[in-house]
């Protein structure tokens, strides 16, 4: 039982990270219906910005908030300079631009901060003896903090979408950009906001997990795969769905890898992909995604 609980906790911890990054993917996709393949690298770069701010003397919390703020602005700049000029229907061009952005940010981080992993401090106590005992296992403060921040971000986004005019405009744009434009909503501005929110969310997750992963140019590679899988499972236009799917993905993957002998750690990633395949065959829009209906 103790082992099962430990594995469930491990799975939730992984899943929260997948869900967090999936949320960033959804922020971009909801408005533009584009998958930002550079989302992980944008998050990674933000993590390095936080490192630089901390190295410059800022306390960790201010370094993180500073990186989030810089990323928020940079997300808007990326949308305005690289994405918007291509037009709303340049799907393949935008996909290629995000790949280019991926490569550029990865190389730039390597040139600026080098190839060695860099340690980044935790916001909460994170020494080996900093934990809460829980049914014979250890609940560590950092994963709890990440879960708490994820819930807070979800709550903030829910409030934004539900109770503000800006959120209403974002929902209208996500639902039908043409009609939203006719209603006087600045659709391009709303799309830019989606990129800004995504960049900020990415910055948060990268800086929060950095104490365990350390900062490296490859720190987000695998997470992006899982995040894309989570967003697909939950529905690319559903923030809640993406987060829940991320957590479910983390738990199921970990349990299958732990208890199904031939899977083990070797085929752990394949578990996520099999789940993804099955769900796409049964429910192509994901569990919480909305079906697109087009008038013909």
């Amino acid at each position: 039982m103790e082992l099962l609980i430990a594995r469930l906790i491990d799975g939730v911890n992984y899943g929260v990270i997948y869900g967090f990054l999936a949320l960033a993917l959804v922020c971009v996709y909801r408005g533009t219906h584009h998958l930002n393949l550079a989302q992980g690298e944008m998050a990674m770069f933000s993590g390095f910005i936080a490192y630089a701010l901390h190295a410059a003397g800022l306390p960790v919390i201010l370094a993180i908030l500073g990186a989030v703020a810089v990323s928020f602005v940079a997300g808007g700049v990326v949308e305005r300079v690289l994405i918007r000029p291509l037009g709303a229907h340049a799907d393949y061009s935008i996909l290629l631009v995000t790949i280019g952005l991926f490569l550029m940010l990865n190389a730039a981080a390597g040139v600026i901060w080098g190839g060695d992993p860099l340690a980044f401090p935790s916001l909460v106590p994170d020494r080996p003896d900093d934990y809460i005992g829980f049914f014979g296992t250890r609940l560590r403060y950092l994963p709890l903090l990440i879960l708490g921040v994820l819930l807070a971000v979800m709550g903030g986004l829910f409030a934004l979408f539900r109770y503000t005019r800006l959120g209403l405009a974002m929902r209208a744009t996500a639902s039908n950009p043409e009609s939203a434009r006719l209603l006087g909503i600045r659709v391009s501005g709303i799309n830019a906001l989606g990129w800004m929110l995504a960049a900020a969310v990415g910055a948060l997750i990268a800086t929060l997990i950095a104490p365990t992963t350390t900062l490296t140019t490859t720190m987000m590679f695998n997470f992006l795969i899982y995040a894309a899988a989570a967003a697909t499972l939950g529905g690319f236009d559903s923030p809640l769905g993406a987060v829940l799917a991320g957590i479910v993905l983390g738990v199921v993957e970990n349990l299958v890898a732990s208890y199904v002998g031939f899977v083990g750690s070797d085929l752990k990633q394949a578990v996520a992909l099999v789940i993804l395949l099955v769900v796409l065959m049964v429910r192509p829009t994901g569990f919480f995604g909305s079906k697109r209906v087009e008038r013909v």
Partner: protein, 441 residues
Amino acid sequence: MTKRSSKLTLAVAVAALTFASCGAPGDDSGSGSSASDAAVEAAEALGIDLDDCPADMTDPLGDTAKVGLTLPLTGGPAAAFAVLGPGVKSAFEEANAEADLPTKFELILKDDQFQPDKTLVAARELVQKDGVVGFSGVTGTAGVLAIRDLLREECLPGIGLPGGGGTVLDPAYPEVVSGAVPFSLDARVWVEDVNERFPEGAKIATFIGNTESGKDYAEQIDHWLEETGSKSTIVDKETIDAADAAAPSSAVTTMRNSGAEVLFAAPTGAQCISIMTEAANQGWEPVIYMTTNCSSSTYFGAAGGAADGVLTLQTYKDVGSPRFADDAGVQRVRDVLKEYGGGVDLTNTTAYSGYVYGQMFVEAAKQAAASDLGLSKLGLIVAARNLDFHPDMVADGIDFTTSGLSDVAPIEAGELNSWSVAEGGFQQGKLYDFEGELTQK
């Protein structure tokens, strides 16, 4: 191979070459088809048929010669490995300025993005377009495997190629001389040390990268457990994807639950840090042996208290460790890098490793120039197969020695050191020396 026997082998080879060359007066063309009997004999001793090699195989290299190095200059791995270039280059520049060699070397770099298929393309271009006379510093077992057939076809020396896999130490490829600590040495030292600590046997867990190198590690661990008659058993095998940055909490949960008292860990990059911290975070305290690829103060320092007491095999001097702060060899190489490295980061251990790979090539060139074969491609290969020297960046008591095809591994000794948080560096441990014992039979 001991220093003495290595020198004896080289002397016998040179004497045979001298004798044979006396028997073939006037035959100094040095081409593959008209090579001296001595050259043919020396080549055959290494399994090289000169008839299958380019005609200039035994010709002197001339006043200038190009040496090739493929390495990641773009893409993710570039951040870690691009700095090898200035290190290797410094060794050649230093030789050009200070060594009395008949040939000045120029190092030509080509980007391979650390992808074996691109390594081969880049290497082929270096051979065909630039006319390189050999390679030095090409990194990684997969990269070395990608080019070894090219080296074989073109009869070109690849000296100081840091690939630790067993396949890099294959006598069937005499042109390839590794510059890395072989995984077989790592695995053997781990097993021998476990046998000493746990005479009645221990439960071992392995945490190994899901890569070709990782498979090599796994095979070597199994091999040495059996070979040494160890009573220890592997109770859990965990693997990790090379790109996986997540804390390995699931793997550690499983290994801890297996009751393992010993952990053999061979992950890559930042995973070196996260496996140590995760084990400590879960309160699991096995005897941890960390791959030599992780044996730098960069990784151990970043792991904080979790690294205290963790063991790792070291052959090269760690420039970040207080133990070598005033070391004359490190200081000398630092000065060389400062002069020829083009502003390379002098705290980066990879640059220093690059210097050693280049130094191996230069050392072979010196030996070849002093031999009757002269400084030719064949002379380089023969000299590299009979190396015996002590690089400045290698710990005292460890020499780089090879002897024909009977000892193809230059590095067969290392110190099993432990990290000390109090000292802020590695504490010197036992020196394990398996000289001449790691060549595949």
